[in-house]
Amino acid sequence: MTFTSTDLEVEGAAGGETVGEPAPASPPAQGRHLVHAFLRDRVAVACGVYILLVVLMALAAPLLVKISGYGPLEFDQSAVDPNLGGLPIGWGGGMGAEHWFGVEPGNGRDIFARIVYGARVSMTIALAATVLTSVLGVVFGLIAGYFGGRVDMVVSRVMEFLMAFPALIFMIAVLSALPADNRQFLLVVVISFFGWPYLARIVRGQTMSLKEREFVESARASGASSLQIIFKEILPNLASTIIVMTTLAVPGYVGTEAGLSFLGVGVVPPTPSWGQMIASSVPWYAVDPAYFLIPGAFLFMLVLSFTVLGDRVKKIAESGEGRA
């Protein structure tokens, strides 16, 4: 409840939606400008590199684990001290050549392997949710904005309804009650279900103003069908908005997935996930801070990188607008 992406709401509010002035239509920024501007920004590049690293890590997880020597589920009883409740032996939660990031207390599972495999879960779910949300948001936003009238009313009511919903409580309740068979899929569905209105609202507003513009009028006059107008004329004009909104949404989803796993309704163990690792580190953080800090830092950096990236993409898109 506290961490559905408030940011998106803000963008919505700032975009002038609620004030009642349609936001200005933004023609697509030139792609090359965008890339250039982006590459000049060192912070953005650093964030991009980190994200890339996590993606690579996720993709190459099985390989990396072969190199490091321990799988994500493998126990290593020799790395923990059974007389101290299974506390990892040695400095930094058992860090060393054997276990690069140390081991989990109690069972001695390799944290490096679990981080690497956990990245898979984080990325898969966040990206899948982003794709699904964007599709839903764009389609419903376009439909509502373009057709207006009754269609708009229905879609708007549904959006209002979903946004009024205490999403977090509800997500947890539903997830904990549903069978755990296909948790990853369920997570994506549930996150997207509550996420799309935030994008749809903006798309709707821009569509409403775009459809009054001359080029749409002329397309209509030349006999184009509604579908053609929506997808050929209006959609391309929304590209930069959608890119910006989507980039801004990703960190929210990464956080949501981790949060749900932290609360115990995310992916099912023993599948590793960062949120889950943080949750299980709670009782240990005073004696084995590394166990908490490592997944905590990976998660924080990932969310931060996506946030910064989204922020920069937005700025660049806006300034691109200015030039065009």
Binding site: F3, I169, P251, F262
Partner: protein
């Protein structure tokens, strides 16, 4: 104005009814049989049937839904005979796991959630607006960039990671703060403050970051508006220009999201309350979810939705009062 109000009220009722219905359907389908929970361990199928009948659980869906809705307004009675349980209006249901009326459970915990919410809201509102103003005034300079960095960090740190880190550093390692407990203000104002400080910070930091960015953007934007330039050209004192022409319109959008965010929080800060072990509505929700105590989950969901919807309406009304650019008639 009154027509606008009426429309809003109607819309609110529709949304709330939708939330009720949706929640009810979901839990009707998903939840475990309360009769089994009541029946306990030495249960026979006959006993379960008996209980189901007593509680009206054998009734069709719509009858049960109607009983629930009417219970909100006129109360209801669970069961018949010597063990009947009265649930006075507004009856949000009866928790068969804890044997408590849900309304009571929520009311007992609301003060804790409200304390957390109000403190956090004040904190993020003040720091957010202040940070935003500083950034706007110092646009492009070090202070601005520094604050920008802080806000990005604040927006990105998952609140449970922050909560645990703060607790580790401030409580466990340094011993500066106590483990948060719901100390009442009347008993010991200082302890009250110290106990609630961490939850306030944890909850406020994300929102404060958002508010900073928003304030900054709005102030910068309105300083460039024509009427501000005109006012300046007319020779009004800078202070007056700021107050009347830049600040006021710039802060208007803040009110919009503040109402919603605050309402959202009143319904319980699930993660923060859980991490710190504070018995507010959010923790109640989390505990009930673990125990699958369906009536409570449903009630908390409804309460939270109710607060958000009412919050949205209050915001709309306030809006018309503070922003000279908006008049109700012209709002779409």
């Amino acid at each position: 104005m009154s027509r606008f109000l009426l429309n809003r009220l109607l819309g609110m009722v529709v949304v709330l009814f939708g939330v009720c219905l949706f929640t009810f359907v979901i839990f009707f389908v998903l939840s475990p049989d309360p009769a089994v929970q009541i029946c306990g361990k030495n249960c026979t199928p006959e006993a379960i049937d008996q209980i189901r009948e007593n509680l009206g659980l054998d009734q069709p869906f719509w009858t049960q839904f109607w009983t629930f809705i009417s219970g909100l307004f006129v109360g209801r009675t669970y069961g018949t005979g010597p063990n009947a349980i009265d649930c006075a209006a507004p009856c949000l249901g009866y928790s068969f796991q804890t044997s408590q009326p849900v309304t009571d459970m929520i009311m007992q915990r609301l003060p804790v959630s409200a304390t957390i919410a109000i403190g956090a809201a004040l904190l993020w509102l003040l720091s957010g607006v202040a940070g935003g103003l500083i950034s706007a005034v110092r646009e492009g300079r070090f202070a601005d960039r520094f604050i920008a960095g802080l806000t990005l960090t604040g927006m990105s740190i998952p609140n449970y990671v922050l909560a645990l880190s703060l607790q580790f550093v401030l409580v466990v390692t340094l011993g500066w703060l106590p483990f948060p407990q719901a100390v009442s203000f009347g008993n010991d104002p200082l302890q009250w403050f110290l106990n609630f400080l961490m939850p306030w910070i944890v909850l406020a930091i994300g929102a404060a970051a958002v508010y900073t960015r928003l304030t900054r953007a709005n102030v910068i934007e309105s300083l460039q508006e024509n009427y501000v330039r005109t006012a300046r050209a007319k020779g009004l004192s800078p202070g007056l220009v700021w107050r009347r022409h830049a600040l006021r319109p710039a802060l208007t959008p803040i009110v919009t999201i503040f109402g919603m965010d605050f309402a959202n929080l009143l319904g319980g800060a699930l993660i923060t309350e859980t991490v710190f072990g504070l018995n507010g509505v959010g923790k109640l929700a989390a505990d009930s979810i673990t125990k699958n105590d369906q009536p409570v989950i449903m009630a908390v969901t409804l309460l939270a939705a109710f607060l958000v919807v009412v919050g949205a309406m209050v915001v709309d009304l306030l809006y018309t009062a503070i922003d000279p650019r908006v008049r109700v008639g012209s709002a779409k």
